[in-house]
Amino acid sequence: MLKCAHCDEQALRPIYSAADGEYQFPFCCHGCLTVFELLKEKSLTSYYKIKNASGTFKRRSPVTTSSETFNFLDDERFEATHSYLNYEGQRTMDFYLEGIHCLACLWLIEKLPEYVEGVASAKLDIEKSVVSVVIAHTGKFSRVAQELNQLGYRPHALANSNQAKDLRIQEEKKYLKRLGIAGAAAGNIMIYSFSLYAGADKSVASLFNALTVILAIPVFTYSAWPFYQSAITSIRNKTLSIDIPIALSLLMGFIMGGWNLWHGQEENYFDSLTTLVFLLLLSRYFLKKIQDKGLSLTDLHFFYRNESVQRQSTNGFEEVYSDFLNQGDIIKVHREEFIPADGIVLAGSSLMNNSLLTGESIPVKVDVGAQVFSGTQNLGDELIIQITKVAHETRLGKILKNVEQGWALRSRTVDLTSTVAKYFTLCVVLMSLLLFAILLPEGMEIALTRAMTLLIVTCPCALAISVPLTFHRSLSQASKHGIFIKSDEVFEKLAKVKEIFLDKTGTITLGRLQVINLNSQVPVNNIIYSLEKKSRHPVGRALVEFALEQSAKPLEVTEYLEIPGLGVQGIINGKLYHISRGEIRENGKVIATFQVQDVLRYDSKTIISHFKKLGHKVSIISGDRREVVEQVARETGIDNSYAEISPEEKVKIIKTNDSLMVGDGANDAMALEAASVGIAVSGAMDISLRAADVYLTTPGLVSVEKILILSRETMQVVKRNLILSLCYNSLSVVFVFMGMISPLVAAIIMPASSLTVLISTLLGTKKMRSLWKS
């Protein structure tokens, strides 16, 4: 199978560039080909050299090209909210780029100053796919954006939510500092403790002991602060988290060590406890880092409205940022553009693609006086629209608002570790009280010391370290394959999922029409191609694609006419041809018939059967017409189907426990949010990303199956680690009750348990290891 030289997708019908005399690269689509030709023109073909030499680390989908001016980026008001001055005082704007996937992308992007005038520097954060572009006085952001767009990296300017961003960076830096100090102190303490265990002289021993206490102070106060904080928060909220026993154990250890030093005894658990703090912080830092890989919610907020629009002013139409529209403004919407706000058509007639908003696959005709909605796409001629509602008042805005409120109201589910922590803490506290009571006849001091020791050595460190690490491993593997998960809670929820709801358009099907059969008495390919090549109607595009496959050539067309809702016509070689409603007529006589269909993705059927095999109940839920939905359900073997469902009704159906919604577009956004887990599959930037817990950068259901299996296996590993670490804890308890515990024994058991769960985490499960191979 040939792979596209640009995006590495399988090129089912490879196309080759005419300008490419020497390389003979296959491309999967015109988008990728265009980018190649552009790179060749700029003599930047080293891109492919680097790409082939280094391989890719993210998957990307084929390039879709569009020509936009991005002029709104230069608008002063836009610059005020989206650009900022870097530390050298230069104007900077951050863009999220679609399609960053390999080392060569990094090379190409950071070379921007060499081929775009006025760019001072460009720095790419490859993990977040965010480029910071610094421009010189002469430069324009619109110019940069145009260039990036042409190269196939569709840019989305990020608002300078500087405060939120700065806060996050400050928070992270603080965490790193805590981590560094804990690591350094733990290492040094270990050296002195080791010589104490080895039997240092009396005079040296007391010096070493004092040193360990001094070194431990910053660890117990500064580094361990997050544990105390989180413990206090959870006590206040009357919940139990794993941090409570940890904080308790640290506190007890610190008090006991200080007390012993005061009384001239060398016994303390500082070596084990400081190492523990270090490892805990480290595992949580890793998890946090990987979760930051995806886009944060605040970043996503800006995607769906980041468009420019033509607004009428005193000197004709001018380009403005869609956010600056007001009620009553008159705007012009060109062919293929999205409508930025709700309004009424003043002039023109056209076809609207409502699939994003309602899920309907067939375009709807609109005329003067008709209402159009924000988020729908104009497929026909240009429309003049008067705006009636903007921002949150539009239908799309209301959906978004609902989604946002839903997120805010979402209750945090009690996860497995917290449940365990609850019983664990109770158990440990009761046991230490019991121990205290048993030993009280032998003296207050012995009883107290032993009870405290119990609390120290039963610290659930192995468990607390292994859970973040397990999630980290799964998250990083998932993100490597283009699956981004917003929070680690998702694994547990997904492992419990019983019912799967699938959206039809774009999820099970390709989301675009294809000609499935064409009966004709005479060759019609050239006629179809010539007539339909200008049409943006989905049926027209399907016909053009079909004709191109049969290597159609353009003919001369006169008196071309596209009638919204009634097809296209034109005169070729003196004969009037008319294509409409599945028929091609020559001078009024039918010469050919054809059928179009939104075809299934090639793997949908297999994967749906896999879902069933995994024991899930699968339903299809769509806003499309009943017969279309039912046909897809029949073809894929889904028993349950809901058709002609509005976005609001979807929520009611889905609001069951343990449901998974897979979909895309605004029409699914509320459903994605309402389900216990929502997966956005589009791979495109739209509102559904904001509502979903998981988003996939590559289309199709394969990744959905993978993430389902991954979640189950991840929870298996978590449970295994849980049992392992509880075993070690029980062992410690036995030692304490038998009076055989000492800092040395603790120094062996604690790391041993951590090491065991670490190995268990790294091994994963057999299924997990084989999951990504195919």
Binding site: K3, T45, Y48, K49, D125, I169, G180, G187, D201
Partner: protein, 58 residues
């Protein structure tokens, strides 16, 4: 064991120095993006155009 009087402050001092250097690096933002630099360093300053003969090896 008198040597400890020299060695211990030396060891602690070195440790403190590295902790200080780490904190300084964190503050300067050297850990803000730890992913990209490891790829960036693989790119040479100048990379010539691709060799046509190897083009087919995709």
């Amino acid at each position: 064991m008198e040597i400890l009087i020299i060695l211990m402050p030396l060891a602690l001092g070195m440790g403190a120095l590295f902790v200080f250097l780490f904190l300084w690096a964190v503050k300067r933002g050297q850990y803000d993006d730890v992913e990209t630099p490891k790829y960036r360093m693989l790119l040479d300053e100048t990379i010539g155009p691709m060799d046509p003969k190897k083009g087919k090896e995709i």
